[in-house]
């Protein structure tokens, strides 16, 4: 048995501590130790984006991050996207625009789209497609996903101007 290490980090706004082995990825820790199974595993080698989480605000594929690299990091997962029980604009836009079929890619897309809209509140279709190109969806053909992100961006901009 390899040595276990204590890691402390901020997860979806809460201070969290866990024990992990050096070989365990952030994805494995999220799913198997912390039981946050909203972050999905599609390939475990960085190619599908289903496991995307925000690491200090930047989107990363959590299957390629070792849990031990996360000491003191701020991690946000799909479970931390809705605030106080209210869905985020992106989540709402995915629902209203039928931007999911099987839904296995959806958490990854929503987290990646969060990062996009934080960086660029008014992305063009091309910018959206480029930014989401690391996330695979096999069901939707991407059309409704791109439209949902466009709709969410518009919603957010409207909310900011109104507010």
């Amino acid at each position: 048995m390899s040595n276990k290490h204590v890691i402390s980090l901020e997860l979806n706004g809460d201070a969290v501590e866990f024990l992990c082995e050096p070989r365990q990825t952030l994805l494995e820790v999220l799913r198997d130790i912390l039981h946050l199974t909203g972050t999905k595993e599609g390939c475990s080698n960085g190619n599908c984006g289903a496991c995307t989480v925000l690491f200090n605000g930047r989107p990363v594929v959590s299957c390629l991050v070792l849990a031990m690299e996360c000491e003191d990091a701020k991690i946000r997962t799909i479970e931390g996207v809705a605030c106080d029980g209210a869905l985020d604009e992106i989540q709402n836009a995915f629902l209203e625009g039928a931007a999911l079929q099987c839904g296995i890619c959806t958490p990854g897309f929503i987290v990646q789209a969060q990062a996009l809209l934080d960086e660029n509140p008014n992305p063009s279709e091309d910018e959206i497609r480029f930014y989401l190109a690391g996330n695979l969806c096999r069901c939707t053909g991407y059309d409704k996903i791109v439209r949902a992100v466009q709709a969410a961006a518009e919603q957010r901009r409207a909310a900011t101007t109104a507010g």
């Binding site: 099987c102 839904g103 296995i104 890619c105 053909g141 409704k144 996903i145």
Partner: protein
């Protein structure tokens, strides 16, 4: 665009938010891999590094001795099946083959073939243990090409395979062979037909093996309880077929196995066969603990059921005025390690779009040293659509006829007989062609090349898929607050909870939101066939309508009791019951009073239609070919498809768009890179599926020619959209460059090679 006068519906045709939506956008939905329970062990499968080898010895002692390992199993732990044949819904299959595909006995037939399995306290220990299982192999020469495998001197994969002849004359029927099936269909007199044609085109095509590419890997957790009952929590397209397969493989009565379908992350036909449940169950029996097994992505590529590569010869005869007069096809499909490719369906589909008086088609199901193939969205139809639709395009070019006009001239319609015998009911082939003809895309100017090395072109192609009927069960219970709980057996891959709930709601005259659908396990609902064959909205929909009608008639009786009038004087209509003297009570109001008049109300419905009427689609695509690199960019894409009646248009569009993009991947990039060592590109990086940067928006035109055998006219929509894209794109490439591509994928190196030749 609705063709017939469409009845006014309240719920059908609207776009409510799907019932499982919030769970799926918040990460709360429980997929197979998310399942956990106390004492859970993790299993890993030991797989073959060879494409073809005899197993001489398996030594599991070292693996079993590793601390934390709780069980090791091999095929010795699986029951023997002898020559047993069992019908698991798709014709008789050899149980020996099914069992050997789950855990092989004496030979491995493809790289990734399961040889043994271990269960341990965690997945890392299980992986270490799997590496400690020593397997001694005697490598054998593999055969990887479908035509090579048909040669008399080819290495034989399965000693027990003999050719099954269907319509074809018998030759060497008692010889071991890789040709598991030889089919022949004929209509009219092809020889005369070709003699009567002014022009005859004969072409050959090759397509490679491709994978469904669902993002969620296969998974299963099994518990073999001390009472002998096995429970499996898994991702599956059909909990009942998974139960039957698991029970048959373990030689248990079906009632000893319960399958709990978890949410499923895509299937497209690839999650019907079971791979993991029997193995997880054996590991559980040995360890006395629940065991979860999840495939790696490489396992998914190497050891599940992709769709066959093929070799196709196709011949078409046409008169000068553009009437298709005779057709002939010779279709050989890679079955993979064990028999069972969809070549029969390919043969039935190949000419289905057209009314051709004389036709003949021959098909071969051929074993090769690749994974055992399985269904993939309109199984078999895409390969043959690529062949026929490009030859049809060649005819258009040769005769100078617009591709849309030629298709209209020859389109199958009501009464057209397919080459395999059946005659079409009212279908919408013509209407989809008309829809493309009238589309803003087709009416727009064809794209203009930007520079000499960027050539543009436009292509058109059509496609056909049967759509399956099969069996479904639904039960529905009226709640006191005027809502309905609906229980169904169809696993929901793409929003079918909602399309089923909408049909129940329409029938009862309530809202979609007032129906609460649940997918039950195999003990919570009656038998239901797989989510596949584009059948759920059709078939489970019929069951839901029948369950609703059941409720309507019970409610009419209850209202009669409430009003104290004879039961034959009340009637359920428009969301409530009407009675004599203008009496009227709404569904909601009556629901609240049921406890006073007879108690709970539950309706049930089953369906078991033999078949549906077919689905047709016609596509139009603009491409830009980079003649320096051979890379093809999709500029614009429009799909017109007959949905019969679109229950939830957003999810109909979604099926069309998703199918098209899978078709684009198949057309341009996806392929199994296979050599003697096995698959060389078993990752998503190297098996290049389309990303959202590769494709444009997919424009959809829903054509509605209601099907006569569904109460609301539904036709399945899931599968046919994948059929036309490879041919449509090939035709567009021809328009752009003058090069006819006859092999898939039309990847940059292949296209560049052809461009350089021309």
């Amino acid at each position: 665009m609705a063709i017939a006068d469409k009845p006014q519906y309240n719920v059908i045709g609207t776009r409510p938010i799907r019932h499982d939506g919030v769970d799926k956008v918040t990460g709360r939905a429980m997929y197979g891999a998310d399942f956990r329970m106390a004492g859970l062990l993790h299993g890993v499968i030991v797989r073959s590094p060879y494409a073809h080898a005899r197993i001489k010895r398996i030594d599991t002692a070292k693996a079993a001795a590793l601390p934390g390992v709780r069980a090791v199993v091999t095929s010795d732990d699986l029951p023997q099946h002898g020559a047993r044949q069992v019908d698991l819904g798709e014709g008789a299959v050899s149980m020996r083959h099914l069992a050997a595909n789950v855990l092989t006995d004496d030979k491995v037939l493809y790289r990734g073939h399961a040889v043994a399995a271990v269960a341990a306290d965690n997945v890392h220990i299980a992986e270490e243990a799997a590496r400690l299982v020593k397997v001694e192999y005697e490598p054998l020469p593999p055969v990887l090409d479908v035509r090579a495998a048909m040669q008399p001197d080819a290495p034989i994969l399965n000693d027990d395979v003999r050719t099954v002849f269907a319509g074809a004359p018998e030759v060497n029927a008692d010889q071991p062979t890789n040709i598991a099936k030889h089919l022949l269909f004929e209509k009219g007199n092809p020889q005369e037909g070709f003699a009567g044609a002014d022009l005859v085109f004969e072409r050959e095509f090759d397509t490679t093996m491709v994978h469904q590419g669902y993002i969620e890997p296969h998974n299963a957790t099994a518990l073999w309880n001390a009472d002998g009952k096995v429970t499996v929590w898994m991702s599956t397209q059909g909990s009942f077929t998974a139960r039957e397969q698991t029970a048959e493989l373990l030689r248990l009565p079906v009632s000893s196995v319960k399958v709990v379908p978890m949410e499923i992350g895509g299937g497209f036909g690839g999650k019907i066969s079971v791979y993991l449940p029997p193995v997880a169950a054996l590991l559980s029996r040995k360890s006395g603990r629940p065991v979860k097994v999840i495939m790696s992505r490489a396992d998914v590529f190497e050891a599940t059921g992709p769709t066959p590569g093929s070799h196709i010869r196709l011949k078409l005869g046409v008169t000068k005025d553009g009437k298709l007069n005779a057709a002939e096809a010779w279709v050989a499909f890679e079955a993979g390690a064990y028999p069972g490719s969809p070549v029969g369906m390919a043969c039935m589909c190949v000419f289905a779009c057209y009314d051709i008086p004389h036709a003949r088609v021959e098909g071969f199901d051929v074993c090769v040293n690749k994974p055992r193939t399985n269904a993939y969205r309109a199984p078999g139809s895409t390969q043959v659509a690529f062949a026929i639709e490009t030859v049809v395009d060649e005819i258009c070019t040769e005769l100078g006829v617009d591709p849309v006009e030629l298709r209209l001239r020859n389109a199958s319609r009501k009464g057209t007989q397919r080459v395999d015998g059946p005659t079409f009911a009212r279908i919408g082939m013509e209407e989809t062609v008309e829809a493309i003809k009238a589309s803003s895309h087709y009416m727009s100017l064809a794209p203009q090349s930007r520079s000499p090395d960027k050539q543009c072109g436009r292509g058109v192609a059509s496609g056909f898929w049967f759509n399956a009927g099969l069996k479904s069960s639904v039960t529905a219970t009226v709640n006191a607050d005027g809502t309905v709980s609906l229980i169904e057996g169809s696993t929901d891959i793409g929003g079918t909870r909602t399309s089923i709930a909408m049909q129940l709601a329409e029938t009862l005259g309530i809202t979609a939101e007032d129906v609460h659908p649940t997918v039950a396990d195999t003990e919570g609902i009656g038998y239901t066939d797989v989510t596949g064959g584009s059948r759920v909205t059709f078939s489970t929909g019929i069951a839901a309508v029948r369950a609703a009608e059941d409720i309507c008639s019970i409610l009419a009786d209850r209202a009669a009791a409430l009003w104290d009038v004879p039961a034959d004087q009340t009637k359920y209509e428009n969301g409530g019951v009407t009675g004599p003297d203008g009496k009227r009570i709404s569904f909601k109001e009556l629901a609240g009073k049921l406890h006073l008049v007879g108690g709970p109300v539950t309706g049930s419905g089953i369906s078991g239609e033999e078949s549906q009427s077919g689905a047709f689609g016609t596509h139009c695509v603009d491409v830009e070919v980079d003649t320096e690199t051979g890379k093809v960019q999709i500029l614009r894409y429009t799909i017109a498809q007959d949905a019969g009646t679109a229950i939830h248009p957003s999810y109909v569009e979604g099926q069309m768009q998703g199918g098209v993009v899978q078709g684009i991947g198949w057309a341009l990039n996806e392929e199994y890179w296979y050599d003697e060592q096995g698959m060389r590109n078993a990752t998503f990086l190297d098996y290049r599926m389309p990303t959202c940067y590769d494709v444009p928006m997919i424009e959809t035109i829903i054509v509605e020619v209601p099907a006569s055998n569904h109460p609301y006219g539904v036709r399945g929509v899931g599968e046919v959209p994948i059929c036309p894209p490879p041919a449509a794109i090939a035709n567009a490439i021809y328009q752009a460059t003058g090069v006819r591509m006859r092999q898939l994928p039309m990847s940059p190196p292949r296209l560049l090679a052809e461009l350089l030749k021309s």
